[in-house]
Structure formats: C-alpha cells, structure tokens
Symmetry: C2
Subunit: 170 residues, 2 copies
C-alpha cells in the first residue's frame, strides 16, 4: 500500500516483520511436507505463529516452549503440548525426547535487548542441531551462527536479516 | 505473498489489521494537510501508531491518552503530551482544552471483549464529535455510530469492518 514518504516507522517495521515471519513459515511448511517429525515452537507470545502452524500442519504434533504462557486460551496449546519454563532449563531437559525427531523448529524469542538476543542465539544454536530430523527446517528471528552451514535462502520479499532459515540435508 | 491455503490464521489477521491501520493513517495524514489542529491518539499501546504519526506529522502537536503507559521510552511521548488515566476520566476533562481543535483523532482501543468494545464505542462517539475541527478526520478500530453520518470510504485494500474512517465537513 502507498505511503506518504520513505520514512520507516515502527508500524512499518512491525508489518514487515510479521510478513517475513509468515513468508518463512509458509515456505517451511511446504518444505517439510515429506519430512516426518514433530514441530517445536520456541516462544508462544500471543500465539499468532502457533495458530498459523497448527492451522497449516493439522496432522503434526506441535510442542510449544514458553516461560510464561499468557496467550488467549484459544491460542494456547493443550497442556501436554506446552512446556513451561525458561528455554535454558526446558530445552536441555527435552533433548532426549526430541533427539533427531524435529521436522520444523520455529524460534521467535527476540527481545529489544540485542546483547541478550545474541548471547541467547549463541547458546541456542548448538542445542537445536541435535534435535533436527534429516531434511528439517529451522526458522528463527535471530541469526544462529552454529547453523550457518545450513543456511537456506529467504523467500522473495523478505529482507536479509529480518528472519533466518536453515535446512538440514536429508 | 503466497500462502499454502485459504485458511485465515491469527498471524494473517494481525498482518491485515496492521496494514489496514497504516493505510487508514496514511490516508488521514494526507487528508489533514490543509486542516489546522492537533492530533489525538487514544491508546498508546506499544507506540507503533504513535511513532507512525509523529514521523509523518513532525510539525503537529500529538497528544496521547493512555491508561497505563508501557511502551518503549523511544515510543513514549513527552510528559506534557501524555495524558494518563482512563479515557472515561481524561477525555471529558480535556474537552475544553481541545474543543474544535482536533485535526486528526486516532482511536485504537479495541480489546478481545466485543461487548466492552461496543459499549466503549457508544460512549466515545459523542465525546469525539465536539473536539473536531472543520475538515478533521477520525480513524478508529471500532465503529462509532455517533459519527455514522461522517463516514468516509476506506482506502483500497482495506476490508470493510477492519477500520473505520470519518470526516467532518469543512
């Protein structure tokens, strides 16, 4: 839609960020069509991306990790699919359960604190690799350096650096 | 961007809602170019639409009404432009100050509670009318029945019912 000028506002950024998220998730949903495995969602937030994933992947088991679930009940997973606690605790604890069984991992855990985001992404990357099934996709709002060798191109229309995609070879 | 199917998820709705908000604000910003007066923002939220308005209307005085300011400091107005309290208290109290002086009023105060939204919109409409300068625009996420005779067409691409625009004749 047209805009009065080239100024980029926080409203513009929010729209671009959500559009990038959707484009990346939609791509990932298509890519994992032939990849058996579960879906992990790191961060429930208000449940928007969870709702998107469950709508388009009705036959997948989707597990959501969330420190403090506060989404609308209609966008909150069933109690046996919701893993509550900090990721630093819950993800290592779930390692054996999901080892090599994850077809799609979506991580949307960025905060306004860039230093914290970077430290967290540095911790997260190695944790994630062991969980992936052959052919698995990782979609992340943060760059995961440990997965750099798995980087996949972004869908058309998504600006570099706004979202990150990784794919494990089959 | 393409999507795997026609399912409408909460992620889709969030994108459409923000795009509608931006299209309506951009239209309003253009429409009030020749209309002297201040801008009132009802509800600060995370400050996205406030940031959009101040970026595109740098010479306007923008007053923000917010019950509980919690936006990032960079998206929070100066203390003399922030009117803190419930709108039921602060808007009547500000009536004399802004009577006939408002060029643009943006109201984004909807909650998930439709009954509450309706009651609030019924209260808000009559409050707003007296504040408007000739040629003023009202953009609202809720239908304001008291302004129905002032309804303006939505910009291209905005679905009916997603946002509401009103214009007072000059």
């Amino acid at each position: 839609m047209s805009q009065p000028s080239r100024i980029r506002t926080r409203l513009d950024s929010a729209i671009r960020r959500l559009e990038a998220q959707r484009a990346c998730l939609d791509w990932a949903i298509g890519e994992i069509a032939g990849v058996p495995g579960v879906v992990l969602e790191l961060g429930l937030g208000n449940g928007r991306s969870f709702d998107h994933l469950r709508a388009h992947l009705p036959d997948r088991d989707i597990y959501v990790f969330e420190r403090n679930p506060a989404a609308h009940p209609a966008c909150t997973p069933a109690v046996d699919r919701l893993i509550i606690g900090t990721l630093e605790e819950t993800l290592p604890a779930a390692r054996q359960r999901f080892l090599g069984k994850v077809a799609l991992l979506h991580s949307d855990i960025g905060t306004g604190d860039e230093d914290r985001n970077r430290r967290f992404a540095d911790w997260l990357g190695p944790q994630v690799i062991a969980l992936l099934a052959p052919g698995a996709i990782v979609a992340s709002d943060q760059k995961l350096d440990a997965l750099q060798h798995l980087a996949a191109p972004l869908p058309a229309g998504v600006d570099e650096g706004r979202y990150y995609l990784y794919r494990l070879s089959r």
